[in-house]
């Protein structure tokens, strides 16, 4: 792999041992990918503060410097971690102190994370604490090279914003934060950004649930490749495409898609395929839509719902407002809890706008920073949960060993109020 003079200097220790370790990881990673060079980046979204048993042990052995060295740089050396070289933010992590009393979550995790926030804040990490950094101040430009983790954020950055990032990991993002470099591979290169699969939609797709189901289907069709979606559907908004991408990155490994006329890198179907003839289209009609719905609901058997989860990926302000409207004047069933996950910055907006109060008056909670899947936490005794997220319904049953229902926001609120699941495909 070709290295520039400044990259060689970093590798050889001119900027300290931690930067050298970071460059060593990037070289090993670049060789694993068969990349021919690195590229410059100045936008990193990674994870450093999320508590884990391994991290707790490392911190007790050698503080956060040790934890960053082992986990974020894959280094066994004792390193002193310098300030981040390029703008870096923390994605979603564990719950904070404000979740105490609502979320059954270990107090030692809250304390560990608080100490992490203090350490990383001093090192220049912006604690955005959300899986949707693009909603709260990290909105990369079209063509900007980024190093992002969080599959739902990666697909949004590439597809909706036209920024360029692979689905990076803890160590590559850590190494990039200290060097401003990443292998120039995959989604960073023009020739790898065209469509590979064509999906033709011939059924109604015009709300949040529809876009999530279509995304789940697209991930199944395209795997790790790039689906191009056409059809007679309504214009999706941020919330719809947030759900679509999260679902496509869950059922497959999609990091980039195009919707001609809507997403920025494909004005037309032909442009999406770089002028080449599109492959034979895969149809998404009523039967496919029904099949996706049934798959997402196959783990539910009991209709007694004791937990409703909204806001995966973290809710937009519009989603919080709609949840408040659906809950206004209602009261949750005695045996059911409702949590809505949001970026902390948007929870502030919801607080000021009165939405949080409406949701809390009904017995629900607006929570920030985390989610049940990240923190392996649900209300005590949860056996059956319901959600409007195709991603959360895919992951949470495996992580917590519970049953799951997938439906619309309104069906989820109904389940929270009645304690029973009445959802059906409409």
């Amino acid at each position: 792999m070709f290295l520039t003079d400044d990259e060689k200097r970093m590798r050889d220790g001119a900027e300290g041992a931690a930067v050298a370790a970071a460059m060593d990881l990037l070289i090993r990673y670049g060789q694993a990918l068969d990349a021919d060079r690195l590229c410059d980046v100045r936008n990193v979204a990674g994870t450093m503060t999320q508590p884990s048993p391994v991290k707790a042990r490392l911190v007790s052995e050698g503080g956060w410097d040790k934890a960053f060295a082992v986990i974020n740089l894959d280094s066994d050396e004792d390193l002193e971690i310098p300030a981040m070289r390029v703008p870096t933010c923390q994605l979603q992590h564990g719950f904070g102190a404000d979740a105490l009393g609502v979320v059954p979550y270990p107090k030692q995790n809250i304390e560990l994370q608080a100490s992490a926030e203090s350490f990383y804040g001093r090192h220049g990490v912006n604690i955005l604490a959300t899986c949707t950094p693009y909603q709260v101040g990290n909105l990369p430009m079209r063509g900007e090279h980024c190093v992002w983790m969080e599959s739902s954020a990666v697909i949004y950055a590439n597809s909706v914003l036209g920024a360029r990032t692979n689905c990076e990991g803890t160590a590559s993002s850590g190494a990039a934060s200290l060097t401003g470099k990443i292998p120039c591979w995959g989604n960073h290169r023009d020739e790898n950004r065209y469509g590979t699969h064509h999906i033709e939609v011939s059924v109604r797709v015009d709300n949040f649930q529809d876009w999530g189901m279509l995304g789940y289907f697209a991930g199944g069709v395209a795997g790790e490749d790039h689906p191009v979606i056409t059809g007679d559907f309504g214009r999706p908004d941020l919330t719809d495409l947030k759900h679509f991408g999260a679902a496509a990155a869950t059922s497959g490994g999609v990091e980039l898609y195009h919707i001609p006329g809507i997403t920025p890198e494909a004005a037309t179907l032909s442009a999406a395929f770089n002028g080449a003839r599109p492959p034979t289209a895969v149809g998404y009609g009523p039967a496919e839509r029904r099949a996706v719905y049934d798959t997402l609901n196959e783990i539910g058997s009991s209709t007694d719902v004791d937990f409703v989860l909204l806001g995966c990926p973290h809710a937009s302000v519009d989603q919080i407002r709609r949840a408040a409207a659906a809950l206004d004047g209602k009261r949750l069933s005695a045996g059911t809890e409702l949590w809505l996950m949001a970026p902390r910055a948007l929870k502030d907006v919801a607080d000021r706008s009165g939405y949080t109060e409406v949701i809390e008056r009904a017995g629900g909670h607006v929570l920030a920073d985390s989610c049940p899947a990240m923190s392996r936490a649900a209300p005590k005794g949860t056996r059956v949960f319901a959600t409007d997220s195709a991603k959360q319904v895919h992951y949470l049953p495996a992580i917590l060993g519970i049953e799951a229902w997938f439906g619309t926001l309104e069906e989820c609120v109904d389940a929270a109020v009645t304690g029973r699941w009445h959802g059906e495909l409409r």
Binding site: V54, C167, G169, G186, T250, A373
Partner: protein, 141 residues
């Protein structure tokens, strides 16, 4: 488990992802593997409910799989298997991606990809596999 005596031998040629030599019993997944939400790193077990290998332990095995899917936590979860002593001893990867490349690097086990035949078809669970950098020797059970 060891190599079966007189076993039929198949050789695959590929590209080194992580250099090194290792041999052991293969665990073959025909479906992509999820890291975060797909494995329990404390036990080294696949936990994805719809997965063909749900409940199966990969610790000490040469893990053969077509690709990585799902969350960007993939590499971090496999790194945790190394730190927890539950890691596979090698990886044979059908199609490389950022997730699986970084995952193999931080698991620090010999890994290989871009083989001249589909490893998930040629290799079966229980076969004895030897990875020598870009070369994969398969001894059919």
């Amino acid at each position: 488990m060891t190599r079966a005596r007189g076993a039929r031998r198949v050789i695959l040629h590929g590209r080194t992802v992580v250099p090194g030599v290792v041999e052991g019993e293969a665990l073959v997944s025909h479906e992509p593997i999820s890291g975060w939400g797909g494995i329990d790193p404390a036990r080294g077990v696949i936990i994805e409910r719809r997965h063909e290998l749900v409940g199966v332990c990969f610790t000490g095995k040469v893990l053969v799989f077509p690709s990585a899917k799902g969350s960007s936590g993939w590499s971090g979860f496999f790194q945790t298997t190394r730190l927890s002593g539950t890691a596979p001893i090698g990886m044979v990867i059908g199609r490389i991606s950022a997730k699986s490349a970084l995952g193999a690097v931080v698991t620090r086990v010999p890994a290989v990809t871009d083989l001249d035949a589909d490893p998930c078809e040629v290799i079966s669970t229980g076969d004895w596999v030897r990875i020598d950098n870009g070369l994969v020797e398969v001894f059919k059970k």
